[in-house]
Symmetry: C2
Subunit: 140 residues, 2 copies
DNA sequence: TTCATTTTTAGAATTATTCTATTTTTATTT
DNA sequence: AAATAAAAATAGAATAATTCTAAAAATGAA
């Protein structure tokens, strides 16, 4: 039995995070929804099944997960932060028109040469333009 | 006489932006301060010399400049947007400890292969870690 | 059980940004 | 130059994402 719950628990414990119900729920949500959700979306979707869930808990949990390097925060959109549990190397694309955020897989992430003494422990690349669908419509 | 004011005016007009006093002031500020300031910082610094300046005008101007591709908006920090008038290829580094944001020059910006039909008109790479000074202190 | 620690919670507080409605400035026409 | 139209700037209110606060609940240890 290697269900999703076990994978979620393992991943939390691996990073020294006690797997409470709420943390498991948020983590499972991120692992099963590759949609780069906002904190709000996560809360709204979990709420019906966890009516005592608080938005503060979602924020607390997301902050903890990001701090511990379990998920990444994506700031490709000024308005609100988005979250991504996929740690495989990939970058994000945002469509100016429809707002969609797409994953784009890459071999490895690009980290340019840094000034002496500077160490990098994470990097993100954001590309912005028009997605295939919106490009179609623009031609007409 | 190729003063800064002329360069500022030219750059605005080149992008079809009417060079009002306020727009010139914001643009000149960005061209002479490579500090990746927030809208707030720009307002606060300009205000003493332009006591009728409104924060809304600073935001309006920055939004216009970004829309027209005259400056870039940097979202390396969730809290507030930062702005950069330097359009030479470079990426940004943020220190986890002291919060400093540094420019790191690169030959050309990395844009990985996109899915068919997707077009990219701008891209940003953000690296996060520890700057040289903070690394020093951490060793001790 | 009792006590201490951690986690969750609701709602208030904060804060960056946008919106609204008005005023000022600039440009155009007579 | 006066009148009109259009664009830009302004003050302050409104919005909304996130954090904070203080209390309650859950967990773990003695």
């Amino acid at each position: 039995m290697n269900g999703i719950k076990n994978m979620v628990r393992e991943r939390l414990e691996l990073h020294g995070i006690k797997p409470s119900m709420q943390r498991m729920a948020v983590m499972e949500y991120l692992m099963t929804h590759r949609t780069h959700p906002t904190a709000e979306m996560i809360f709204t979707d979990l709420y019906p099944d966890m009516p005592t869930l608080s938005k503060a808990t979602v924020y607390n949990t997301l902050n903890l997960l990001v701090e511990r390097g379990v998920v990444r925060m994506i700031t490709i959109e000024e308005k609100n932060a988005r979250f991504d549990a996929c740690m495989d190397p990939h970058i994000h694309f945002r469509c100016r028109e429809c707002g969609a955020i797409l994953d784009v897989n890459v071999e490895a992430h690009w980290v340019p040469a840094m000034p002496a003494g500077v160490t990098v422990d994470m990097s993100e690349t954001y590309c912005i333009g028009y997605c295939a669908e919106c490009n179609q419509k623009r031609v007409n």
